[in-house]
Symmetry: C2
Amino acid sequence: MNKIFKALSDKTRRQILAMLRDGELTAGEIADQFSITKPSITHHLNILHRAELVSREKEGQYIYYSLNTTVLQDALNWFLDFTGIDKEDNNENQKPGL
Amino acid sequence: MNKIFKALSDKTRRQILAMLRDGELTAGEIADQFSITKPSITHHLNILHRAELVSREKEGQYIYYSLNTTVLQDALNWFLDFTGIDKEDNNENQKPGL
């Protein structure tokens, strides 16, 4: 969970995740959307990959990145547990899965 | 938003936030719940305060910390925008407020 929030604590990385909502992209296609250097984008992609927020798959000479919605859902669930939004059927003062 | 996610990227800080759900606490009361040093807790509280996730108010010789639910809600909203959960009334492919 630490790695997920750390990965989300950067605007470029949040923008990359937003781009991947529409489908998989190569590192080059992602880099084309930013004015920062390709090594810098690679660095951000590595952080997102280590946090398991993105998956990558080699196809020929390209590496395709895609969104790992399960891990994003885990982080969203932390918020929902924390704020108690999902507690309609459970009135206990449940502690979140920290 | 960067500061919020960075502040959330630590288990102790998430535990402090969970403790404050039940009401305001002094730094001493928070520190009593952990086996780490008081200066370390103060450091975590400062990070949470800089991210505006907690508010603090001096009352006599004590400083009381409380949860700033508005800022937590901002982070939750980012997730909801991102995952599209709140888009029932809006079918456009809305981009999140990054």
